[in-house]
């Protein structure tokens, strides 16, 4: 189960993901990130309430980063919890996507 909430603030579209990002949730996450990138605002994906991410979830995140690249907007992943951070570290996804602690605004 994945719950998405969005808010615009100071030129950023903040997409907050809560719950799990597995194969069942990929479409929800991809659509939310693509729609956020299409607004033309910079996109921050807040993962502070995301408990789990699988390989399919990682692909959705990359898909969102690709959408931001297409729309030429900045994309940043914020505050992953330790379990999700470990997946990021082992996969090396930080080479393609900026990951930071805390929101940009």
């Amino acid at each position: 189960m994945l719950e998405i909430t969005e808010v615009s603030r100071a030129g950023w579209r903040i997409v907050s993901a809560k719950g799990r990002a597995g194969v069942q949730e990929t479409e929800t996450l991809e659509k939310a990130l693509e729609a956020a990138a299409a607004t033309g605002e910079k996109v921050a994906l807040d993962l502070s309430a995301l408990e789990y991410i699988s390989s399919a979830g990682l692909r959705s995140l990359l898909s969102g980063a690709r959408a931001a690249q297409t729309h030429q907007v900045e994309f940043v992943v914020c505050s992953p919890v330790p379990g999700v951070r470990k997946v990021f570290e082992i996969s090396g996804i930080g080479s393609l996507v900026k990951i930071q602690e805390g929101l940009p605004c």
Partner: protein, 216 residues
């Protein structure tokens, strides 16, 4: 659209000789197993974690190779790691290869030719009947490796399978590959399936080296 398995087998077809080629035959079996797993992941039949593979749905895909693997996975729930399945599936690489070739011939991408040499010796070869697909695979590999853009998930998978099969050397020059080695390594590390394929190849190479050292 071709499957990942079909794309990598097509890439292996040498247009000049009509034979399948590889600079890393040891890795090819694991790479083909990885390709089938990627096809199942793209079809949302499986998902993977850092080590484990999850059978999400065993609803048939309509592709016999993939459906046979799904059926085996449903029969063996005790095998729950990507590594265990890659090793098990690699033993069926000849089946994967021949199924992919048959499908590529049926699609009109490849043509099976038999010619006669010295009047009596029959020589079999694979001819590329429609080179658009092979060129497309090569172009996507080159684009994914030579640029710093965020690639499509499918192209990340393709790079890792082509690398494990030793096929990148037929797409890019040695100097191009050397200059982009870090990028290839990074792309091959992104997916659990490709990390496990890479580890399985390293382990097999170690076993071969140990065996050869004992022989001497």
């Amino acid at each position: 659209m071709l499957s990942m398995l079909e794309e990598v087998v097509l890439l292996a077809v040498d247009e000049k000789t009509g034979k399948l080629r590889s600079t890393r035959p040891v890795g090819t079996g694991f790479a083909m197993a990885g390709a089938v797993f990627f096809d199942l992941a793209l079809g949302k039949r499986i998902d993977t974690e850092l080590e484990k593979v999850l059978l999400v749905s065993n609803q048939p895909t309509g592709v016999p190779v993939q459906d046979n693997v799904l059926s085996e996975m449903a029969k063996h729930p005790e095998l729950d790691t990507v590594r265990a399945w890659i090793k098990a599936l690699a033993e069926h690489s000849e089946y994967f290869e021949s199924a992919a070739l048959a499908s590529l011939i049926a699609r009109g991408v490849l043509r099976h030719e038999i010619s006669t040499r010295l009047w009596i010796i029959e020589v079999e070869r694979l001819a590329v009947a429609d080179n658009k697909q092979q060129l497309n695979v090569k172009a996507r590999l080159a684009q994914t490796i030579l640029t710093d853009t965020i690639p499509d998930a499918r192209d990340i998978m393709l790079v890792s399978v082509a690398e494990a099969s030793g096929l990148l050397e037929y797409v890019l020059s040695r100097s191009q590959l050397e200059s982009r080695r870090d990028r290839v390594v990074m792309l091959c590390g992104l997916e659990t399936i490709s990390r496990e394929v890479g580890d399985a190849i390293v382990m097999l190479n170690d076993e071969i080296r140990t065996f050869v050292a004992r022989m001497h």
